[in-house]
Symmetry: C2
Subunit: 374 residues, 2 copies
């Protein structure tokens, strides 16, 4: 079946997907929290439906385009997880008017003032979460900053309601041990619980205390005070997650199907028709203990072949080598051989494709499309 596909093409292994989803559901089951999966990894309706045993639960999105798409498909409780820019106020207001329980994110007074002004001027209502910085990763307000209460006060009476706080332990992706991930998980929980306490002490009632990253969600031991967990890449996993010890290589549910188109025998190179356009330019494993180049090379059944990796990529060409030089590429991988490349970063690689060829027990089940853009 796969032999008939023109390459490169993105494959999604349904058994691995379901098993990864089960793992996260089982992990969170003992805690009294809601899973609000991040759909930015896959941007697919079918994958999102699979994330919920039944119904259309709460989701996190990274673009208003995703919010539009999933709202039209019946998902109403949507957190747009990126600090809102003024040029998106009208778009967000439109979604809310149409019935979406859209939540926006803010982390500064200027944004709050602009949103409040917009709400007043347009008679619009917004629900926002204040973003807390738990690890210095990128945006967010320090958990003990008076700014939290200042923003909440500024918004009072404007039509903008602060319904909660959220944070993301982005630095957990740089952990060098499971112990370090556990420490990030404690820090992530503490930051957002402390921030919530500050606001509650100032008289603001919060319904959402939200954390989220795949590493911390899978290794947390304490979620007291937390109402919901956001995570996305756990559904697919990737080589960065495997390098962290968060999953095994054989858990990775997405791969890029490619074909051998030539060799440079003297150099031990096998040339394939998947370059960075199909694999993405993501080199997330470059800073890990084992640099996987542009990905691990597997056979059609999804099993890694020796120590083969994609070592270099041009737009539509990839170069495969044996790390140790032990494999003779021309005889092991003749022209026409089809291979599957496991990605460094599932979000980035998937984004290079229009959709997924879905496999179950090695057979092609169908095609699940993705959305793109903003």
């Amino acid at each position: 079946m796969l032999e008939l596909l023109e390459t490169p093409a993105l494959l999604l292994d349904l058994e691995r997907l379901d098993s990864n989803i089960r793992r996260m559901r089982n992990k969170l089951a003992p805690f009294n929290v809601t899973l609000r999966p991040h759909v930015k990894t896959h941007k697919s309706l079918e994958v999102t439906e699979r994330l919920f045993a039944d119904g259309r639960g709460p989701i996190t999105v990274s673009t208003l385009r995703e919010a539009d798409f999933f709202f039209a498909a019946g998902f109403t409780d949507i957190l747009y997880g990126v600090g809102i820019a003024p040029n998106k106020f009208a778009h967000a207001a439109r979604l809310i008017e149409q019935g979406a329980a859209l939540k926006l994110v803010l982390d500064n007074l200027d944004s709050a003032r602009l949103l409040a002004d917009f709400a007043r001027a347009n008679g619009a209502v917004f629900e926002v979460l204040l973003e807390v910085d738990c690890d210095g990763h990128r945006s967010g307000i320090p958990p003990h900053s008076p700014l939290l209460v200042e923003i909440a006060r500024l918004l009072q009476g404007s039509g903008v309601t602060v319904s909660g706080v959220m944070t993301h332990a982005g630095n957990s992706y740089d952990s060098r041990s499971i112990g370090e991930i556990e420490a990030y998980a404690r820090q992530e929980r503490a930051a957002v619980v402390d921030a919530a306490r500050l606001l509650e002490e100032a008289g603001f009632a919060l319904s959402i205390i939200s954390i989220g990253s795949t590493p911390t969600a899978l290794f947390t031991q304490d979620l007291s005070g937390i109402t919901e967990v956001r995570a996305g890449v756990f559904a697919f996993f990737d080589l960065v997650m495997a390098g962290l010890g968060v999953c095994q290589v054989q858990d990775i549910a997405v791969s890029v199907l490619t074909t051998v188109i030539g060799h440079q025998p003297e150099k031990g190179w096998t040339i394939v028709d998947a370059g960075w356009m199909a694999l993405s330019r993501d080199r997330g494993t470059a800073k890990q203990a084992v640099d996987q180049g542009y990905g691990i090379v597997c056979d059609l059944a999804g099993q890694p072949i020796g120590d083969l990796i994609v070592t270099a990529a041009n737009q539509e060409h990839g170069i495969i080598v044996s790390r140790s030089g032990s494999l003779d590429p021309a005889s092991a991988l003749p022209v026409g051989t089809q291979l599957r490349i496991l990605p460094n970063h599932a979000c980035a690689t998937s984004a290079q494709h229009g959709g997924y060829h879905v496999l179950t027990e090695g057979r092609r089940l169908g095609y699940w499309s993705r959305i793109a853009g903003w």
Copy 2:
């Protein structure tokens, strides 16, 4: 006008595009060669039309999807510049049957044998160029290898005609001086002219002797024996090309419009809503003398602001810093400020977007869509 766009969004400056195209046309005018532009950079019908003063000239494509699209739009002379994989034979045959003068590329006996077998079995005809390796960059046959003639002989009588040779000086992208680019240009020309002579001495008449890369095309001094030049990125240019000295920063025709969504004042960070999804993960300037991070930050008019660059990128967040720390981000770039980011690599950044908001004299002219996928 730009203030009304939701960000991130890809902008294309028409005056810069036209000026870049003029420069390449003027450079090649004294030589007796055809320009066969590579459409993989922009994948846009309107840009491709702009590349030709009149009519629909010969083009180079990186995917059969591009071949389908441009053939349907009236471009018939199409070189598919990536070694052909067996799973694409039927697709290529279909295009040829429909009237496309499609040229394929081969660099090994196995591919040649498989294509010849397919042609015989299906009564198909193909025109191929043999790929020559001029600099050890990736694929291709060494210019003096007997393999060239061996392949041409193997194909005789099969329905597959060798109509020429082609090469790409990919290593010219790593040059450290214009002198080095000129040396690569000489090497590129010599390789393909030598390979052509070998084939002609063996009795094969060739009509296409094709070279191509933007750096070598713009700095070559001798194109004797060459019939055509392929190049793509020259139409847009990018920071990698500027770092090479091939263009100026102010020649770069594409940029990503983004909006300030917050700050981390203690760190000197400005957070914007363009992350790697909008900018791509390409870090092509990392190996150059000046590493531009994820891009140079410009104002709405397209002028660089001080020494600001995007230093880090998550999926939908970018972090802007002043290299020297001399600019106070919170006061210089308040929330809501719109900025334009010049890309490291125009091909990669453009591929992250569905199309171009085209600007002329700073006003928005319209939207030119791109194609994607395979």
